[in-house]
């Protein structure tokens, strides 16, 4: 078991109170597994990714554990995490490609970064160039300034840098969001290539785009309002989701081939609850077509045979009925 996370809770301190951004998540990521973390804005996926590497000073650890390769990650302490950052756990943060120092050539920036981390001896320029070539970039990139590179190139440079020390766990936060569709494919495939070549043992890929996750992830974990909704192998989530939120979400995504005139898709009415003062019980119940009185009590996370779900109705429903199309507002 590469990564084991147990009931992790992280809140954000604000003037108005605590924002319960991540409110108790439990899951495992196996060696060599690419786990996709999907959800809409505010669901807590970025918070989860960040809490495993602690780069955001506003986060307040509340409780829970994370164990990587048998060793406990000190997710409550920014300073103690420093030992693990970049070595055991690494991240490609959101907007990383826009955060490259515009006044430094790429090669020099990497060198300074490694020196700051005390690892400048790892293979040196040769190894870096080799890895760049493996992701389809010419080694001449090291002599260019960030402004001379396209978005996709910058993203791949950042990915190479983040994985230079062959981390056990890589957290990729929205790395394809700002890219064009053709570069998106290249970058996503690069990510899989890292895993296949052994640069990275396991990955958590955070994105709102379930379609991309379906292409590259082995498992997909869907989050809603700070809690886990559903977990399943990538193919099954798309074809056979069981949590009402997942099903409504997937059915609201237009695919090439679906036209308004033929089949009008619907979204999910309403908005996610405020995380300052979340409602008791299931946080999706106000928007859920299957909600009953039982949902006033928080549904437990039940995991078996590689599938997990937190829903009273879905867990109890027989398989045949679960396949019937779900329409928001109906029932």
């Amino acid at each position: 078991m590469a990564l084991h996370v147990d009931d992790l809770r992280v809140y954000y301190r604000t003037l108005a109170g605590d924002v319960k951004a991540l409110d108790g998540v439990t899951f495992d990521v196996a060696d060599g597994e690419i786990m996709g973390l999907a959800g809409e804005s505010g669901c807590g996926k970025s918070t989860l990714g960040n809490s495993l590497i602690r780069l955001d000073g506003r986060m307040r650890y509340i409780g829970g554990h994370a164990v990587l390769d048998g060793e406990e990650l000190p997710v409550w302490d920014d300073d103690a995490m420093d030992r693990f950052r970049f070595r055991a756990v690494s991240t490609v943060p959101q907007y990383a490609m826009s955060a490259l120092n515009p006044t430094r050539k790429i090669g020099r920036m990497i060198h300074e970064l490694l020196r700051a981390r005390g690892v400048e001896q790892i293979g040196g320029r040769q190894e870096i160039a080799r890895r760049l070539e493996l992701v389809g970039l010419d080694r001449g990139v090291l002599d260019l300034y960030p402004i001379e590179l396209s978005g996709g190139m910058k993203q791949r440079v950042v990915m190479v840098i983040s994985t230079l020390l062959d981390p056990s766990l890589l957290i990729a936060d929205e790395i394809t969001s700002a890219l064009d569709v053709s570069t998106q494919k290249a970058v996503a495939e690069t990510l899989v290539g890292f895993r296949d070549r052994g640069f990275v043992k396991s990955m958590i890929v955070i994105t709102h785009d379930i379609a991309v996750l379906h292409q590259i992830a082995d498992t997909i974990l869907v989050m809603y309002a700070g809690k886990l909704a559903e977990k399943a192998p990538a193919d099954e989530i798309v074809a056979n989701a069981r949590h009402p939120y997942t099903r409504l979400l997937i059915s609201s995504l237009p695919e090439v081939g679906v036209r308004y005139a033929e089949r009008r898709l619907t979204g999910i009415p309403g908005r996610p609850p405020s995380l300052l003062d979340p409602p008791a019980g299931c946080r999706f119940r106000d928007r859920c077509p299957l909600a009953t009185d039982r949902c006033m009590q928080e549904p437990p996370w039940i995991e078996e045979n590689g599938r997990g779900i937190a829903c009273w109705e879905a867990a109890a429903m027989p398989a045949a009925q679960a396949d019937a199309p779900l329409v928001a507002g109906a029932l």
Partner: protein, 293 residues
């Protein structure tokens, strides 16, 4: 009818403005009432530039844009205002479209002040309510609130409502749903499709092929400022001929099939492409044109 004839836009770049960057090259198409036209392109394709030129926020460098046979570049003052009565737009970032220090419904007050100064208080209130209803917003939820108190979806719908207060014929939607969450996107998209049934001509600018395919009647694929393929949506998506279009379609992540690893590299490996001659568009079948490649 809104027509673009050989429209181009060139920027001066570099020291002393010696270099030239062609953002839009020789683009021609028509937008008709009651029709949704998707302008699909990646970043740098010039699609937003075209939208802004249609909205008279940018000047064309060459060619002409005509509204009912009148060249819009010549419009001034009151004539320009008349144009804005008929042609409106909404942009990508809902939070940037509102002045953060004022309430969100100030956008309605602005329309009233500039276009309907003589309309009475009660009648105006009724018109606002009608417009909000047309976009499925509850007036009590959105009136009197600041932009940061509303969601992205509500803000975008408010902007559509604002446009509906005028008697518009054409609507430019520039990536209006790309910053919204997946579950609200489709509702705003459906709203646009409903507007079509009111007789509006909609220019839907996007980088997302599945969205374009969902609501549009006609599709234009734009690359580096020029059109590579255009025609009826079913034909362009169903029977793509240009290699760029095919590459785009192959790169879209589907949910019911995996990517073919055809080894195709990313679209652009470098940054700015050198100036290339605009290829001619060839009619290959009824309602389907492709650029010679």
């Amino acid at each position: 009818m809104l027509r673009l004839d050989h429209v181009s836009k060139t920027y001066r770049v570099g020291a002393f403005g010696r270099g030239r960057l062609a953002a839009v090259r020789d683009v021609s198409f028509e937008l008709r009432p009651g029709e949704v036209l998707s302008l699909i392109g990646e970043s740098g394709s010039g699609k937003s530039t075209i939208g802004r030129m249609i909205l008279r926020l940018l000047r064309t460098s060459g060619g002409s844009i005509t509204y009912d046979d009148a060249d819009i570049a010549r419009l001034r003052g009151d004539e320009l205002k008349e144009y804005y009565r008929r042609v409106q737009g909404v942009f990508q970032d809902p939070f940037s479209s509102y002045n953060p220090i004022f309430k969100a419904d100030r956008v309605f007050a602005m329309i009233r002040a500039e276009f309907f100064p003589r309309v009475g208080q009660d009648e105006w209130r009724q018109r606002v309510h009608d417009a909000l209803e047309a976009v499925s917003l509850n007036p009590a939820d959105v009136l009197g609130k600041f932009p940061h108190q509303l969601s992205g979806g509500q803000l975008q719908r408010l902007l559509v409502a604002r446009a509906l207060l005028l008697d518009i014929r054409y609507f430019v939607a520039d990536e209006i749903i790309s910053m919204l969450d997946a579950s609200t996107r489709i509702d705003v998209l459906n709203l646009l499709a409903d507007l079509k049934s009111r007789g509006l001509g909609i220019l839907f600018i996007t980088h997302d092929l599945s969205l374009g395919n969902y609501i549009s009647d006609t599709t234009i694929i734009l690359r580096h400022g020029s059109i590579v393929e255009m025609g009826e949506t079913e034909k362009v998506f169903g029977d793509a001929r240009h290699p760029y279009t095919k590459n785009l379609l192959a790169s879209v992540p589907h949910m019911h099939e995996k990517w073919q690893s055809n080894g195709s590299g990313p679209g652009t490996n470098g940054v700015a492409q050198p100036a290339i001659a605009t290829p001619e568009l060839v009619l290959i079948e009824e309602g389907h044109l492709v650029a010679a490649s």
